[in-house]
Amino acid sequence: MARIAPGNTPKFAYAVLLIVASTFLYLDLQYKTFTATKNIFNSGLLTSNLIVKNLIFKPISNLYNLTTSKKELIQLNQSLADELEVSKIENFLILNKADLFKNNDELINYIKSSTIKSLNEIASISSFNTNLYKCCDSHRLFLFNNSTPFKEGGTVINSEGILGQITDSNKRVSEVILISDIKHSIPLKTKEFFCNANGTGRPRILECKYDASLWPESFEIGQNFFSSGLGGIFPEGLLIGSITSIKTDDDNETILEIKSIANPLTQNHVMVIYPNDFN
């Protein structure tokens, strides 16, 4: 390897900027100082994206559709696809109503007297970084707000099951933390066994860790886990997923890997519900 030749690299500027970048990184990781900046940037990006789509690409595609006389059919197809997604979610809601809203009358009374317009709201996904979802620890998606921002803690579901919960909202978009995010934890149960399933940072995979000497339970691959409702956020009794592997770690703790049944990659629409607001 050749020796480093003397050059006119300005070391002082590099040193200063390295310190500045490290400070930014520390502040963001430790105190989330730049979250607002990132959200504003994301909102701007989404808005400009929409404007470009509606002003440039849509007229061009409409022009094409007109010439081929398929415009109405394509619109109809799109609206039917959207309707189908919404009705799938509503079906899920109807099928699981007993679990989702145990105290339905009280909930409706509460909603009538509160700012929440309805007990459920359909929302469309504004952005979802699928690359980050597959590669990294942070699993977040963003929803377009309806008339009002979604309330923090709202449960987000699709037609397959629970996806996550609302963590943050601004005027335009709301952030959803998915249950597979490394910072997320959801209380689960199966028969008489309870555990907190942490996100693993891998798509749809949750992890329950327990000391086998304290809980002499036996599990098998494919065994179902349900939400226990203990955290006060998610409703009780909903199927979350099933065991895909059982391992033992170095500390002799048993690790159950649970694969969630809800896949966030399948639909563009989700529903936000507030099942625990009556408490």
């Binding site: 480093i4 900027l17 390295l18 970048a21 990184l25 520390y26 900046t37 620890d137």
Partner: protein
């Protein structure tokens, strides 16, 4: 460096990052990860050492952080460090063979991926991914070098 040139450089890096996100979605399953955006940035620093110094590297890194949604300052830090390393070796590159230069940038992108994964993928950090990506990014560097040289001669003034 004039603003239009800076914007051209920025556009190529953003485009390469966009490609990155599209391709890596499928590649991650096979323990492979491209770092096209970073390699394009390295190409510009390598081929225009008098134009891209600390401040431009820092600004490009910050913008990439905002676009990718990664921890603020992470890409800024890594781009600035990489820029410093490339500048330190700028005269040595003249006596390096193309193979040596390729290995140098493959190593650099391996460290970049390693650091990025340390911050955003701590729980599932994979040495295999980093190791395999060394070869992948080495091969990618060759094609980026050829393509970006063509782009540079045609569009960069």
């Amino acid at each position: 460096m004039i603003l239009t040139n800076f914007l051209k450089i920025l556009a190529t890096i953003i485009f390469a990052n966009y490609l990155d996100s599209k391709i890596n979605f499928f590649m991650v399953d096979y323990y492979l990860s491209f770092s096209l955006g970073f390699l394009v940035f390295c190409f510009w620093v390598f081929s225009l050492p008098n134009n891209i110094y600390a401040v431009s590297s820092f600004i490009i890194g910050l913008l990439i952080d905002l676009i990718l949604g990664s921890p603020f300052g992470l890409n800024a830090l890594l781009f600035t460090i990489s820029s410093f390393i490339i500048h330190s070796y700028r005269y040595s590159f003249k006596i390096f063979s193309f193979l040596q230069i390729t290995i140098f940038f493959a190593f650099l992108s391996m460290f970049y991926l390693g650091f990025i994964n340390l911050f955003v993928n701590t729980a599932n950090f994979s040495y295999l991914l980093i190791f395999l990506s060394f070869f992948l990014n080495g091969i990618t560097w060759i094609s980026i070098y050829i393509l970006m040289n063509k782009f540079k001669t045609r569009f960069y003034r």
